[in-house]
Structure formats: structure tokens, C-alpha cells
């Protein structure tokens, strides 16, 4: 009760509530623009927090994070462009629902799933910060390697019925991830003398190219009669039947988002992909995934919004920023002379409880703002196709350029778009490649660091209990996926033979 009073006082004594509202608006706006990541949206506001009181400043930055992680799903559903890395998994079924004229329904599911995820994450953050902080500390390089392998193990079930094609896509994704400076020795790899490639290829560039540019290419090459328009022009919140269907994917997203969130460096992208995969595995309608599944939108959206709160666990309890966004938030703490860590709860309880209260306001604000802005967004994407394609393309090129002020990045996006177009022609799935690009560096760098620590002895991966558990889970997931894949293929052949 006393803690609630502290939170209420901290929230109402300054400008924290307006800051939460404004932060969510700014975050949704930034997250919806391709190229403006949550951390960039937060960093842009960092200088303005100097003049604010600590609670207002921290609430503002955290609210931007909440808004931006949600905002990324809006272009993912409406224009097949993930605004953030973690929205990539939403593209698959969200955009498919849009194509079927169910954009309002998809946006409604993503909005309420984001709210459910955000509120669940907040409860976890408030009640379990201390015990979960121990999980973060248990993560060593072998455990990170195993976590990456667990992420890669979902490739088999993301391969959309063609395992060989999925594996080829995943290996090419891992190859893209090797471009740049070697994570251990620091030598350049596959940069061909170009300084632009020394920092590697950002996953968001590959995602925007694969999903958005290839879609523009397909749209422009279609004859006019083949173009469909969204019939559903208003936001549609889920009815009771849909809520019942979303319960399981929400639960899956909540569990995976919690584990991934408290693990520094794991982030919302892995959580979203794994939740998507598990939601399909546990669904009563797995055949709907990839064809506009309600659960295919609910699970990743819930998971990446859980992460917005649980990613703060290692930051608040240990002072470890587990992501770029958490690092910017750490900057906000430091600007105001606050040091996140165990003593923060003793010395600056008002800031911590004010942050909790601010996150609650931010999540509610996300729902309210979503209710206001989403119908106009659907109206916007129902404009005549030529105008729409031109504005989407202009938004993409502007957003991509703004990441590093580099036209080289734009060239990479266009190349990824052409690759995506060829992959679509070949019937090759995108998601395994995206996973390869996202997880490649995590897997390689931690594999090699582990071997350096163990003098080249691979036994380190089974001696570390966390790594062993994660690797066992990865093997189990792979075996189950392969079994299901083989069974489905055999069934399809039997059906073909019977016809």
C-alpha cells in the first residue's frame, strides 16, 4: 500500500503523466517510421530530459520505448514494413490479414496483445525484479551461444513446408551476419575494402529490403486488375471468441517475453520469433499460420511488449543495459545522477515506483492513442495504389538514409529487396534468413568466446547448466519440428497419391 502511495505521489507531483502520454505518441510515431528504432526515438529526446525532474525524465524515455515497440507493428501490418526488428514476426500473418481485407482486425489484435503483454511485463517487473536478476547473472558466453542456437532451432518450423529452402535461406542469413569486423580478432571480413561494411549489415536493412521493397516490386509488377484493396477500413477490436483464441498465444508470449527480456542482449526479436513458432506448435489451427492467423499476430506482439518491461529488470537491479534502448534509458538515469543497481531501490525509491506507475500510464495511453490513430492509418493505406506505393517507397528510402546518413545503406536495402523478390519467385521463406541475420553474430561471437575461455574445450557447453538446458531444448525443438515436417510431407504425398 505504501509502495502504491509512493508511485502515485511520484507520478502526480510532477509532469510524469503528460510525459508518459507524450512519450507514447512520440514512440509510436518513431517506431512506425522504418529506420527509426526505439533507441533512436529515445535518444532524440534525451537532450530534452536535462531540464526535467528525474521521475518525469525516466517515465518519458520508458514511455517512448513502450510506444516505439508497439508502433513498429503498424507498418508491419499495413505496408509489410517492420518498423522495428521485433515487428518482423508480425509481418507474416499481420500483412496477410491486411491482404485479406482484415487490416482493422489485425491492428486491433496487435493493439490489445501489446497491451496485455505490456501489463504482464509490468507485473513481472514490479513483483519479480530481484529473483529474475539472478537469471541475468547466470548468462555466460556458453549460455548466450546456446540461446542463439535455441533461436535458430525454430528455423525448421518456420520453413513453410520446404525445409531445404528454409535451411538455404538461414545459411545465407548467417553469411550476411558474418560481413563486417570479426567479433574476436577484429579483422575485416567480406568488406571488399569498403569502410561502409566494416560495421556489418544491420538486420533492419535486410528486413526492410526483404519484406517491404520486394512487396513494392511485386505490387508494381501486378496487372491493375490483380490489385486488391483493404475492405476493412476501421479498427476492429477483438470479440470474445477472438479473445479466447488469443489466450494461449498471449500466455506463450508472456513466458517467452519474460525469459528473453531479463536476458541481457536477447531482446524482443528473438522473443517474437520464438513465440510465433511456439504459438503455431501449440495451436489448434497451425495450418492458418502464414495465411492470416489471429494467433500469429497475437503471440509475437504480446512477447515483444512483455520485453519492453522485463528488459528493465537487469537495468534496474544490476545496472546492466541489455539492449540499445536500455542503454539510452541508462543514459537518462546517469544524466540525473542516478545509478541503477541494487541501491537504486533504497536511495531513489520514488524514481523506481514512479517508473512503474509511468509504465502503467504508458500502456493505457498506448491503447487510447491506438484507438484514435489506427483507423486513419487504415484510411491512409487505402489511397490509390500508385500514390500509396510512391509514399511507402519514399518513406523507406528516407527512413533507411536516416539510420546512418548513408546512401550505401539504401543500396543494401535495394539489393535485399531484389533478393527478396527472387526468393519469393523461388518459394523460399524469408523468416529463416531474418533469424540467421539477427542471431548470427550472437551465436558466432559467444561460441568463440566460450572456446577461448575453455582453451578450445567444447565440454564447456555441457558443463554450464544454463547452456546445457538451452541446448537440450534446442535439440528437442529441432527433433519435434523435423518429425512434424516429415509427417506433414508424408501425409501430403498420401493425399496426392489417393487423388
Amino acid at each position: 500500500m505504501n509502495d502504491l502511495y509512493t508511485a502515485w505521489t511520484a507520478l502526480t507531483s510532477g509532469w510524469a503523466i503528460p510525459a508518459a502520454l507524450g512519450g507514447v505518441v512520440w514512440g509510436i510515431f518513431g517506431g512506425a517510421l522504418p529506420g527509426i528504432s526505439p533507441s533512436i526515438a529515445m535518444a532524440l529526446l534525451l537532450p530534452f530530459t536535462y531540464g526535467l525532474d528525474p521521475v518525469t525524465a525516466i517515465v518519458l524515455l520508458a514511455s517512448v520505448y513502450v510506444g516505439a515497440e508497439y508502433g513498429g507493428s503498424i507498418p508491419a501490418i499495413l505496408i509489410r514494413t517492420p518498423g522495428t526488428n521485433s515487428a518482423a514476426a508480425t509481418v507474416l500473418d499481420g500483412f496477410e490479414m491486411n491482404r485479406q481485407g482484415r487490416a482493422g482486425e489485425a491492428l486491433g489484435i496487435s493493439l490489445v496483445s501489446g497491451l496485455v503483454g505490456g501489463l504482464f511485463g509490468l507485473v513481472v517487473l514490479v513483483l519479480f525484479t530481484e529473483p529474475l536478476a539472478r537469471v541475468a547473472l547466470a548468462f555466460t558466453p556458453p549460455a548466450y551461444f546456446a540461446l542463439g542456437m535455441l533461436g535458430l532451432s525454430v528455423i525448421a518450423s518456420l520453413s513453410a513446408g520446404s525445409l531445404v529452402m528454409g535451411l538455404i535461406a538461414a545459411v545465407v542469413g548467417l553469411m550476411i551476419a558474418t560481413v563486417g569486423t570479426d567479433p574476436v580478432s577484429g579483422v575485416p571480413r567480406f568488406t571488399f575494402g569498403s569502410p561502409d561494411l566494416l560495421g556489418g549489415i544491420r538486420p533492419i536493412l535486410v528486413m526492410v529490403g526483404l519484406f517491404a521493397v520486394s512487396e513494392l516490386m511485386v505490387q508494381v509488377s501486378e496487372p491493375a486488375w490483380a490489385r486488391t484493396s483493404t475492405r476493412d477500413t476501421r479498427l476492429k477490436l477483438p470479440n470474445w471468441a477472438t479473445w479466447k483464441r488469443m489466450f494461449r498465444p498471449h500466455a506463450i508470449g508472456a513466458v517467452i517475453g519474460t525469459v528473453e527480456g531479463v536476458t541481457p542482449g536477447a531482446g524482443g526479436t528473438i522473443a517474437a520469433f520464438m513465440s510465433y513458432n511456439e504459438a503455431r506448435r501449440w495451436s489448434n489451427h497451425p495450418e492458418e499460420f502464414g495465411h492470416g492467423s489471429v494467433e500469429g499476430v497475437a503471440a509475437p506482439e504480446a512477447a515483444n511488449n512483455v520485453v519492453t518491461a522485463t528488459a528493465l529488470v537487469p537495468l534496474l537491479s544490476l545496472g546492466i543495459p541489455g539492449s540499445n534502448s536500455a542503454a539510452v534509458l541508462l543514459g537518462g538515469f546517469l544524466i540525473h545522477g542516478l545509478s541503477p543497481g541494487p541501491m537504486l531501490f533504497e536511495r531513489n525509491a520514488d524514481v523506481v515506483y514512479g517508473l512503474y506507475g509511468g509504465l502503467l500510464v504508458a500502456n493505457i495511453a498506448m491503447l487510447l492513442i491506438g484507438l484514435v490513430i489506427l483507423s486513419p492509418c487504415i484510411w491512409l493505406v487505402n489511397r490509390p495504389k500508385p500514390y500509396l506505393l510512391a509514399f511507402i517507397f519514399a518513406l523507406i528510402v528516407s527512413g533507411v538514409y536516416s539510420i546512418d546518413q548513408s546512401f550505401f545503406d539504401l543500396g543494401l536495402v535495394l539489393a535485399a529487396g531484389a533478393l527478396g523478390y527472387v526468393m519469393r519467385w523461388l518459394g523460399m521463406p524469408f523468416l529463416p534468413m531474418v533469424l540467421g541475420v539477427v542471431l548470427g553474430n550472437l551465436v558466432e561471437s559467444n561460441y568463440r568466446r566460450s572456446l577461448v575461455l575453455a582453451d578450445g574445450d567444447h565440454a564447456i557447453f555441457v558443463q554450464d547448466p544454463v547452456a546445457l538446458g538451452l541446448l537440450a531444448a534446442a535439440v528437442l525443438m529441432l527433433v519435434v519440428s523435423l518429425y512434424r515436417e516429415t509427417r506433414a510431407l508424408a501425409r501430403a504425398r498420401e493425399e496426392n497419391a489417393a487423388q
Binding site: 545465407v172 579483422v187 510512391a390 519514399a394 519469393r424 558466432e444
Partner: protein
């Protein structure tokens, strides 16, 4: 040639080229036992094997699901799709000279025209308004340093 065979041969060719590039990765005194070229070589071999598998499967006429790219348009449709990439490339080349505002207005106009909109004064006005809105969002609101180009004396 079937799509599976194209994919298999393409993967095999990429694996050979990537392996060749991996052998050129410089060694470092700071390197570990795996080395900077360790994973790339493993990936190249894996891709090569998968490419062979895909090609063999295609030759044995096992069906591979078709993608959702247009089927009927053939070469003309693919060329039209590539035209979109060419427009993006032209934007990347010309915008440093034209500047963000002029480059984006022209880009909006030409992409809309290429996508089937008839050139008109209305299209020109919408492109100009769109370019200005994007300039306001990215330059004024987000503070991104977009190229000024030929408008540098005015905006700089």
C-alpha cells in the same frame, strides 16, 4: 529449368564464391583457434551441400511450393519489378546533387507515374506536398541531416 534447380545451382555458386572470399580473410595475431574464417568456411560447405540437395531433389522432380511473385507476367513483369529497384538506385545517385527535398519530390512523382498514375498537375502538387511533409518530419522534427544538394544556399 525448374525453380528448385535454379535455387540449387544458385546456392552452389554462392557457396563457391563465398568460400573463395573466406580464404581471403586476413589472419590476425589476436585470432582464436576457430579463426575469423572458421564459421564462414563451415557455412560455405553447408550451403554447397544444401544446394546440391536442392538440385538433386529438383531433378528427381520433387515439387517445391511456388512463391507468390506474379506468375503470368513472365519476363515483362520481372523487368517491371526491377524498374522499381532502378528508381531507388537513381534516387540514391541523384539525391546528393538534387538535395533531399527536390530529390524526394521527383522520386514521389516518378514512382507514382511508374506505378500507373497518369502524370498531371495534381500528381505534381501531391508529390511536392509529400516531399515537403517528409522534409518536415525527417529534417525539422527528427533532426536528421539530409543532403541539401542544390538547395544548400537556400537551406544551409
Amino acid at each position: 529449368m525448374g525453380r528448385g534447380l535454379v535455387c540449387g545451382i544458385g546456392a552452389l555458386a554462392l557457396s563457391i564464391a563465398y568460400y573463395a572470399a573466406a580464404t581471403g580473410v586476413p589472419a590476425s595475431l589476436l585470432s582464436d583457434a576457430v579463426g575469423a574464417d572458421g564459421l564462414p568456411k563451415v557455412l560455405a560447405v553447408a550451403l554447397g551441400l544444401l544446394g546440391i540437395l536442392a538440385a538433386v531433389r529438383a531433378v528427381l522432380a520433387r515439387s517445391i511450393p511456388a512463391g507468390d511473385a506474379p506468375e503470368g507476367g513472365g519476363v515483362a513483369a520481372h523487368a517491371r519489378a526491377l524498374g522499381m529497384v532502378a528508381l531507388g538506385a537513381a534516387y540514391a545517385v541523384l539525391t546528393p546533387t538534387l538535395g533531399y527535398v527536390v530529390g524526394t519530390i521527383a522520386f514521389l512523382f516518378f514512382v507514382a507515374t511508374y506505378s500507373g498514375q497518369r502524370p498531371s498537375l495534381r500528381l505534381a502538387a501531391i508529390s511536392a506536398a509529400g516531399g515537403l511533409v517528409l522534409w518536415l518530419v525527417f529534417v525539422k522534427l527528427l533532426g536528421v541531416a539530409m543532403p541539401l544538394g542544390m538547395l544548400a544556399p537556400l537551406l544551409g
